[in-house]
């Protein structure tokens, strides 16, 4: 019984790292630009496709493909921001418009990926994806272990970038008080552009890891948006550390629910959590009750 619970806990924690990476870009973009990016999960799928085709065509390991997927998605993110969102920054209906625009982007990207690659389920299959570390009665699938560990490394690098670099400090300042950041000499337009690119690049990086731990197809992103929103809302919208905590917490809970109540209820955990958080503590674990100025 105890080892079975330990097994579930380990699997939950390993997936939690990947969920944290999947959610990090979403919360970063919301923190700086107040854009609820409904297109974030389809960008994860796009990253997964980059890794998939590099693996299929050239035999590139999906972990090694991660920087390539992140770079491709960074360019897509910057282009999207320039073409779609930059003009809206001055709009009085910014929040409503950006939600609609990200929804439209999600629909278009979903359609485009579906037309190009069909909605067939795909997965990359490096050798470690079907192997496991075994410690007595407990096992850890190598794919999940690698994906979880690499996710934590990427998130660590992101936190270091935000806390110890000049541009990262400008991003944090813009998150806390956009007008004040401008008054300190920060070009918030440039910060928004680069941050959007970084957020989408994180989706791409997550996609490369997702490609060997989940099967994926374009329309899968509709399922993920609710999962990612629940993690971000639980942590406090725009709070990166909160999203990471939320990811581990909900992932572990979902793993236990899945084991003891069935896999359908595992996914439902995220949806139910979203409802409960919004009703009981809408500001999330680390959010402020009152919006920062």
């Amino acid at each position: 019984m105890l080892s079975s619970m330990l097994q579930v806990l380990i699997l939950g924690l390993a997936l939690g790292g990947v969920y944290a990476l999947m959610a990090s870009g979403l919360t970063l973009i919301f923190g700086v630009m107040r854009i609820v990016n409904l297109a974030h999960p389809i960008m994860i799928i796009a990253g997964a496709f980059v890794a998939y085709w590099l693996f299929r065509l050239y035999g590139v390991d999906p972990i090694l493909a991660m920087p390539i997927a992140a770079s491709v998605l960074f360019v897509i993110g910057v282009a999207l921001y320039k073409l779609v969102f930059e003009k809206e920054a001055a709009s009085a209906k910014y929040s409503e418009m950006t939600v609609l625009l990200t929804f439209a982007v999600a629909l278009c990207a979903d359609g485009l990926l579906g037309a190009l690659f069909s909605n067939t389920q795909r997965v990359t299959t490096p050798a470690y994806a079907t192997d496991a570390f075994i410690f007595g009665t407990v096992f850890i699938p190598k794919g999940q272990a690698y994906a979880g560990a690499i996710s934590l490394l990427v998130i660590g690098a992101l936190l270091a970038f935000l806390n110890f670099t000049r541009f990262g400090t400008a991003i944090r300042a813009t998150t806390q008080n956009r007008a004040a950041a401008q008054l300190m000499g920060v070009n918030v337009g440039r910060v928004s552009l680069i941050t959007f690119g970084i957020g989408i690049a994180l989706a791409g990086a997550a996609g490369a890891l997702v490609s060997f731990i989940f099967s994926f197809f374009p329309a899968k992103h509709w399922e993920w948006i609710a999962i990612l929103m629940s993690l971000v809302v639980l942590g406090g919208m725009g709070k990166l550390v909160g999203a990471i905590l939320g990811a581990f917490l909900l992932s572990v809970i979902a793993a236990f629910v899945g084991t003891y109540f069935g896999s359908t209820w595992s996914t439902m955990t995220f949806f139910l959590a979203l409802f409960v958080i919004l009703l009981v503590k809408p500001e999330g674990l680390l959010g402020d009750r009152q919006e920062e100025a």
């Binding site: 009085a92 400090t169 806390q176 004040a180 401008q182 300190m184 000499g185 070009n187």
Partner: protein
């Protein structure tokens, strides 16, 4: 010979709403404290936001040392030499005092120079040195105002604009704030101030400008405005008597 800052016939408003500034004029000379007064809704804060570039102007001109700055972004205007402390102080509440000061020097890329300037400012505001590690959002109103002022000094601007610096502060703290403004003026800096408490503002200023309904009614030496019967009647009440 140009004034340091010249605002000519500026019209500005928020979004597509009505104009708040309807042809405002302002001249600010180097090394003075100038106080803008006027009733609520006169456009005092809006004028400052227009000068710093937070609010685009619809027509008119704003010049710093003769150079037009009215199409620049706030970060570019800061680099030209105008710093602004808005009414809400615009601190980063989750950053420490030292981090806020570092943000004040965001445009200074030389780390040694930045550290030296932060040290200079902390010498001027010893209370901030004591609280260097404290989050700005947890400080008292007076300390936050000190930090907001101190932070603008890191870049050694030509003009410091302060919107209602005495708002919500105890009289003793207000006196300290004005003492600091006098020190800044004496060191050659220019201070442009919006003050709801017109008597206190004008008593501490060299020059005053009276705004109403987005227009400049008149400007002149602060002591003359203090005793001007029209101003006293309209804006100051009996307190100035």
């Amino acid at each position: 010979m140009h004034e340091l800052l010249e605002v000519s016939n500026v019209v500005a408003g928020y979004g597509s709403g009505p104009a708040i500034l309807n042809g405002a004029d302002l001249d600010v000379a180097k090394g003075e404290i100038q106080c803008i007064i006027g009733p609520n809704g006169a456009g005092k804060s809006t004028l400052m936001k227009a000068i710093i570039g937070l609010l685009p102007i619809r027509s008119g001109e704003i010049r710093l040392l003769g150079e037009r700055i009215d199409r620049l972004r706030p970060d570019q205007i800061l680099q030209k030499g105008i710093a602004f402390v808005p009414q809400e102080r615009a601190l980063f509440p989750k950053m420490s005092v030292r981090e806020n000061l570092r943000m004040g020097g965001y445009t200074i890329r030389n780390e040694t120079e930045l550290k030296r300037r932060i040290d200079d400012v902390l010498d001027r505001f010893p209370i901030l040195r004591e609280r260097a590690s404290q989050h700005a959002g947890t400080m008292s109103g007076g300390q936050q105002q000190m930090l907001a002022m101190a932070r603008t000094l890191i870049v050694r601007p030509k003009i410091v604009m302060l919107d209602e610096p005495s708002l919500g502060l105890a009289p003793m703290i207000v006196k300290q704030m004005f003492d600091i403004m006098h020190q800044l003026r004496d060191s050659g800096m220019t201070v442009l101030l919006v003050e709801q408490n017109a008597v206190v503002g004008l008593k501490n200023a060299n020059r005053g400008t009276v705004l109403d309904l987005g227009r400049t009614l008149f400007s002149g030496p602060a002591k003359d405005i203090l005793t001007d019967p029209r101003v006293r009647e309209l804006y100051l009440g009996k307190a100035a008597a």
